[in-house]
């Protein structure tokens, strides 16, 4: 579920200035134990009016959990500031979107709140059931099928021999990034990939492929976010303190991103070439 953050009524959120002096802070923790995923939400609400609506049962804290890939979608509600969602891992795969809210549980007419921004003075505000009174920070939880150690580039790239390809082709519609090579070139690759020109081959084959991958992501990243390769790339960038979104929005240039992932591929390749040439002299 994606919200655009603009609503036809005031919403208490750090993203806007609908309220002055009120706050809704949330903390989400996810924990995996014995086939269950526990999502814990802790809320801290500082607003008297909304607190009293919750006490009257007219509004509730809520935790919305959605896993697009498995079509899991559920809302958990409570009058308490702590909510625990327990979900069988079998119902989840890959990316899980978690949204904390305070929601109207029934129609709330003629809503007023002394902390509302002056903009709302004299406005008649009505909340319908399901409308959002407060919005917490959205969190994305990713369930990895593999352990941490295998969250690396080789685990998400496969090079294949193609009977029909005439040149290098990259395809992204599968859990792995598939690099197809024409058969004669693939055979050469297979013979030489482990040789002392390994890094050079990496620069020739993987570097342009990664550039292509990032360009495709810049065009449309949403389509691919469900795939394992995307999630692992996300992790690789996160570990290096650069969010993958910076590549997608252009803050980090594609060419730079590809070289970062391969960690100075040109330098490594030229070192190999130099060694080889030195050996020949």
């Amino acid at each position: 579920m994606k919200f655009n953050n603009s609503f036809p009524y005031p919403v208490l959120s750090p993203e806007n200035d609908d309220y002055k002096g009120s706050a809704f802070e949330t903390r989400v923790e996810a924990q995996k134990t014995f086939g269950q995923l526990y999502i814990n939400l802790h809320c801290n609400l500082q607003d008297q009016k909304i607190t009293s609506l919750i006490n009257e049962g007219k509004a509730k804290y809520a935790l919305h959990v959605e896993c697009p890939q498995t079509s899991f979608r559920k809302i958990y509600q409570s009058e308490e500031t702590k909510i625990v969602a327990t979900i069988n891992e079998n119902h989840l795969r890959g990316k899980i979107d978690v949204h904390p809210f305070i929601l109207a549980n029934e129609t709330i007419e003629e809503y007023t709140n002394p902390n509302l921004n002056d903009f709302y003075t004299d406005a008649t505000i009505t909340y319908e059931k399901g409308n959002i009174l407060a919005l917490g920070e959205a969190v994305e939880v990713t369930l990895h099928e593999l352990d941490e150690e295998s969250q690396n580039l080789p685990s998400i790239v496969t090079i294949r021999r193609s009977e029909s390809a005439k040149e290098l082709v990259v395809s992204l519609n599968s859990p792995q990034i598939i690099i197809e090579l024409p058969k004669a070139i693939y055979d050469q690759y297979a013979i030489n990939a482990g040789s002392r020109l390994k890094e050079t081959i990496l620069s020739m084959v993987i570097l342009p492929s990664l550039i292509e991958v990032f360009y495709i992501l810049k065009e449309d990243s949403a389509d691919y976010s469900e795939y394992k390769w995307y999630q692992v790339l996300e992790q690789i960038f996160k570990k290096n303190n650069i969010p993958l979104t910076q590549v997608i929005d252009g803050t980090t240039p594609v060419l730079r991103a590809a070289q970062m992932v391969l960690q100075n591929p040109l330098e490594k390749a030229f070192n190999e070439i130099q060694k080889l040439n030195e050996g020949m002299e």
Partner: protein, 257 residues
């Protein structure tokens, strides 16, 4: 018998080299498929028990799609959902056990050598979620899973019967590519609204489905739909569809007397 999957290697080989292998699909070349799949490393055995069911292959897809949703979902009801999202399972089932069904269901596309449909029927070609409702076999299970009504003991498939009554392929994609239809109360609310209108004599077309999901999509921008009860969703959708398509409220016969 335990279900066999395609290995990652076999799956990628079949996909990448489809151009080379496509003749075998056109010619329904079972001998080739059997030989290919019997090579070492092509298949992996899962832990899931399964009896291969006979699928319906009647002349009318409207009938057979409905029957087959029931058959496939019943025979694989215990499938963990996370596994049911995986291409190697569905592509494996399609290649290993259900080639005859695929030949039947996309017969015209095979005849016309429509590679795009052959590929999307056998592999996941349309993104992780959409493919579940496009793949010829996966969509049968997924439509079953998404609409099975355990509260209706006498016929838990009553919603599917309606869903499959026309335009199955398009309905699958239009209806289930919305995220909110992941919520059963919403899915059931929409389908019950449309079934109610059908029972009044309205011919439910694709436009009615599109309008229902479009309307909820817009509403979902300002409210969390998941808070609504099934009946509330039904009411909202019914009201909207009546308004947009100019359908009068039914006047009970007793009031006319």
């Amino acid at each position: 018998m335990k279900i066999k999957f395609l290995s990652e290697d076999a799956l990628q080989d079949l996909r990448v080299n489809f151009e080379t292998y496509k003749e075998h699909y056109y010619r329904r070349d079972d001998a080739w498929f059997d030989a290919y799949l019997s090579q070492e490393g092509r298949l992996l055995e899962s832990k899931i028990e399964f009896e291969k069911p006979e699928l319906h292959r009647g002349e009318d897809y409207l009938v057979s799609d409905y029957e087959n949703v029931k058959i496939v979902y019943e025979s694989l009801k215990e499938l963990p959902v996370s596994l049911a999202t995986q291409e190697k399972l569905w592509s494996g089932l399609a290649h290993v056990y259900f080639r005859d069904y695929i030949y039947y269901r996309i017969a015209k596309d095979i005849e016309k050598k429509n590679d795009t449909r052959i590929k999307s029927a056998m592999f996941f070609e349309n993104g992780a979620k959409r493919s579940l409702f496009v793949h010829a076999l996966a969509r049968l299970w997924w439509v079953g899973y998404m609409t099975y009504d355990e509260n209706k003991q006498e016929n838990p498939y009553w919603l599917i019967e309606f869903f499959c009554s026309a335009d199955f392929s398009a309905r699958c994609v239009v209806f289930f590519s919305s995220n909110f239809t992941s919520n059963r109360a919403i899915t059931k609310g929409i389908l019950r609204a449309l079934i109610g209108l059908r029972d009044e004599g309205v011919a439910i077309k694709r436009a009615h489905f599109v309008e229902s999901t479009k309307f909820l999509n817009i509403s979902g921008g300002a409210m969390v739909l998941d808070l609504l009860e099934e009946d509330e969703v039904k009411e909202m959708v019914e009201k909207r569809v009546r308004k947009v398509f100019g359908i009068q409220n039914n006047i009970p016969f007793s009031l006319l007397l």
